[in-house]
Symmetry: C2
DNA sequence: CTGAAAGCGCTTACAG
DNA sequence: CTGAAAGCGCTTACAG
């Protein structure tokens, strides 16, 4: 049989009420130091852990936070969630909270679950993760249900009062532009994803703004292209650029998309006997890549996918405490990771590498 | 204010007890079809969802399963957990259960959490994930606490009665050997991880057994090597093999480790003007790789990291129902994924590719 | 077939 | 400073 509060109260010859007060460190409960020690000792001896259900029912707090999201398909998205649960679990445990995870195939199911958990009082707060198109209705529902929440994404325009976290996408592309400009490049192409989501637009905006600020002029539209994360689409973009006359050809590439942009870039350069380089005078690249990323030939600076963990970890000091305790500071957190040298196989891309 | 059972009972002019019985579809409760319909209708109208805490406290079931593990570091391990939570959440939701996730830095913390959750009755069952060295003490603790659980790993020797799931590592390497033997290869090298864990030994055992069975003789020890998942270590192994006289040189490679084994293999072959091929007479390879995996030059058959999701999904028909309902069948599940063509950039690895 | 009552294990005012 | 009592919102025998 499990140990109950009554058991430890009997053991120390005190009322359950007092024992409860001591165990929860309640301020308005008086007990001598000796009594406190005896209570703690007895609880430990009997391996007492209060029933979560009873506790939640009586004091109205579940000490549980729910992470809710719509499942996304595709490797890029799967990788973007890697480490997320680990980071939140760690931070919540440290605050005495448990993490519940609920994900569903459709947005309707997610909204139904939010409604259920709110009415069933299954958690004290929620964390929403995913695309803005999904999380916005979810957040609005939580608002109406009066449940505190934290949301991943860029909701600053429509919901500046929401507690939200995301990468500083503009800053990331700014740093990438700074990097290649510092190597002397002036014709800098941008390869991104198709412009469907907020972060994709933010990435491109970062490139454009940094380009204007650092070089003093807007990038030529022919230097901005996009593709899904596949080899064919990215190869087309890159081939077009590399086929330009030498005095128009871009010499640097800012990557705002996935691994296949890098693969395509390296492959096209290799066919021409070139490799990415960090030396002035060569072809250079900087930008984002997915979790598992290794260049074949050259060298470049990249934000590694590993940074996604940092994003969840950034939520800890401010946002998590905010939704748990109702603080008002730290509503919007934007995280700017560092550019680091990408791992490379360092293969030779001589002219014989021609496909 | 949240809707309570009492509210819907009042709405339909019935006792809470009857409404509870109808809502839970209890068998020994009688109510006319009309009454049932009115109750359901009222519950829906009032958006009634029973308090999880009250329900758990009164009927002793939490409808929650906890996934517990020690956090592991390293990309390979992070990737191995990708999709795990998604798969379990999906399967549990379908059965009316919520998923709780608790992970910790140390084994001591994991064991303490298991003890706490068991005594606090925070869940009905647990899922243990991780290395056998961690999960074995965890499982033994759960045994002693009488909590049903499901464990990932190979515990068939010491705990054949445990509900457990893992890949069929021997079968995977058997299929890889079959693949290259079918292409006519007879000198088949094996590149694995250092022999520290059960699955690493199982992979190698699969290679050895299939080799003996299919070729009629045991593999030469010089054809079996291992390395951590880095470029240097794997390159050393591969270079040694490729430097052998032609009549001793292996022509096929079974990979029981990570992406850098493939990268090293491709790089070493490329320096000699070769690429992996599925044609008889060339160099061939087959085996495991991590989640995000793209060959640079050649073609090969691989188990993609994506398969880890299937592992969690395999737990659904048998094991999950077993721990939730106490069925006795399906104690040990071993999952054998399919070898598929690896994605490749298809770059030319001509002699000019020499580094 | 139906409803009143006890109980799950805590917490929290509220009297002594 | 301390303890008896009510209550959180359900479920489940158990009488009518």
């Amino acid at each position: 049989m499990r140990t109950r509060l009554k058991d430890v109260a009997e053991r120390v010859q005190l009322s359950p009420a007092l024992v409860s007060g001591v165990l929860n460190g309640r301020a308005n409960v008086w007990a001598s130091e000796d009594t406190r020690a005896r209570v703690l000792e007895a609880a430990r001896e009997l391996n007492y852990h209060p029933s979560t259900a009873a506790k939640a029912l009586s004091n109205g707090r579940t000490n549980t936070v729910a992470l809710v999201y719509r499942r996304l398909s595709g490797t890029a998205y799967r990788l973007a969630y890697t480490g997320l649960v680990d980071a939140f679990s760690e931070q919540l445990q440290a605050r005495g909270y448990d993490l519940m995870v609920s994900n569903f195939a459709t947005e309707e199911e997610v909204l139904a679950q939010i409604r259920r958990m709110a009415n069933a009082h299954a958690c004290d707060a929620m964390i929403l993760w995913g695309r803005e198109a999904d999380t916005e209705p979810q957040g609005e529902l939580l608002d109406s249900l009066n449940i505190p929440f934290l949301v991943k994404g860029r909701h600053e325009k429509k919901h500046p009062e929401w507690r939200q976290i995301d990468f500083d996408h503009e800053g990331m592309m700014r740093q990438a532009v700074e990097q290649v400009v510092s190597l002397g490049h002036r014709r800098i192409a941008y390869l991104g994803f198709p412009l469907e989501e907020a972060f994709v637009r933010a990435l491109r905006r970062g490139y454009v703004e940094a380009h204007e600020r650092l070089l003093g002029f807007a990038p030529d539209v022919q230097y901005m292209d996009s593709s899904e994360d596949d080899l064919e689409g990215n190869s087309q973009c890159v081939e077009q650029w590399l086929s330009l006359p030498e005095d128009q050809r871009p010499t640097a590439f800012v990557i705002g998309s996935g691994n296949y942009a890098w693969h395509a870039l390296e492959a096209s350069l290799a066919r021409r006997g070139h490799a990415l380089s960090q030396q002035p005078g060569g072809y250079s690249a900087a930008g984002i890549a997915s979790y598992y990323f290794t260049l074949s030939f050259g060298e470049a600076m990249a934000y590694q996918g590993i940074e996604i963990d940092n994003l969840a970890q950034q939520a800890s000091p401010g946002l998590l405490d905010a939704i748990l305790c109702g603080h008002e500071e730290h509503r919007i957190v934007r995280f700017l990771p560092s550019l680091t040298p990408a791992p490379t196989l360092g293969l030779n891309a001589g002219p014989g590498g021609q496909a």
